[in-house]
Symmetry: C2
Subunit: 158 residues, 2 copies
DNA sequence: ACAAATTTGTTCTATATGGAACAATAATTA
DNA sequence: TAATTATTGTTCCATATAGAACAAATTTGT
């Protein structure tokens, strides 16, 4: 006998929900982006805030913890915790700012760069997989639109 | 004197990162979708899984807890916890399935519907705000593309 | 028909996470 | 200059969350 529930189409909700676009953005993040963070944690041993530190410092040569919090929109205490762990792991170094004793400048180490490259390679593959359903022109359209949305989101106060 | 850091453009990372589209999807979700869940929690007292139950049962007349877990891609234990709380709050009712003693059919109550409408109205406003940066044709394009992506994501095994 | 495998819902547990408060420092205002 | 306000990084704490293991029921395969 067939399974009782097998005819239920779980994706109907996408069109039924009152805020279909926001819902699908959320769904996509939940279905793909967060499992990816989970994979990074399992395979590389870094939690999200820790990986975000690598990501930011691989692209900016010097940042404060606060900068990273702003760039990634994570709370400062999460970043603070992550900084300590990344220092212990040897992926970051920290030098006090002589001009402002409150803060310290963070830099990525050689080991940090290597780790960042490994994780990035994995995430690049994941991205390719996700967007393989779109044609090249669709992909280009999506890129423009998500750029607009993300830039707008970055202007919103926290 | 001006603030020392004020010239740093935090959105440069969007283009520098190795997986720019996936990153921006993640960023958008973090900047907008999750704060929205947080607002729902503060303003309406429901956590994500609890609201997801309302959402699903407002659109399907009868679902099992497992159905909701599949539709929303949340773990079953989160849904299980949420079901109990929603039963206590009077937003759901539960009837054992006579054909399968393992499971029970969930339905939304009158009170649950009212709560769902209140929350939805709020989320509809949020959605309009987010997408206000897109023109009508851009919005329509985005809708098509995110639909494809979400539908694809829904086919991925968990 | 019977053993093995699967499914549902649950509890237990570990952990990632974010809010709040805090001390130290710096910037602003009077 | 002195006093107030803001900022940075941190610790503490409460909680949302997901994995693992489990019992009960059902389905599958031989």
């Amino acid at each position: 006998m067939a399974r009782k529930n097998e005819s239920l189409d779980y994706s109907n909700i996408f069109e039924a929900v009152e805020f279909p676009d926001a819902y699908k953005v959320s769904y996509l993040a939940n279905a793909i982006v967060f499992p990816t963070y989970e994979d990074v944690r399992k395979d590389f041993g870094l939690v999200r805030a820790e990986y975000h530190l690598l990501l930011c410092l691989a692209h900016y040569s010097e940042l404060t913890a606060q900068d990273v919090a702003r760039i990634t929109r994570r709370p400062r205490n999460s970043i603070s915790r992550a900084v300590h762990r990344m220092l212990d792991l040897g992926f970051l170094k920290r030098v006090p700012d002589p001009d402002d004793a409150r803060q310290a400048k963070l830099q990525i180490t050689r080991e940090g760069k290597i780790m960042h490259q490994k994780i990035s390679a994995y995430l690049v593959d994941r991205e390719a997989e996700i967007f393989s359903v779109l044609s090249d022109t669709e992909r280009e359209s999506f890129r423009e639109l998500i750029r607009k949305l993300a830039n707008f989101a970055s202007t919103l106060k926290r």
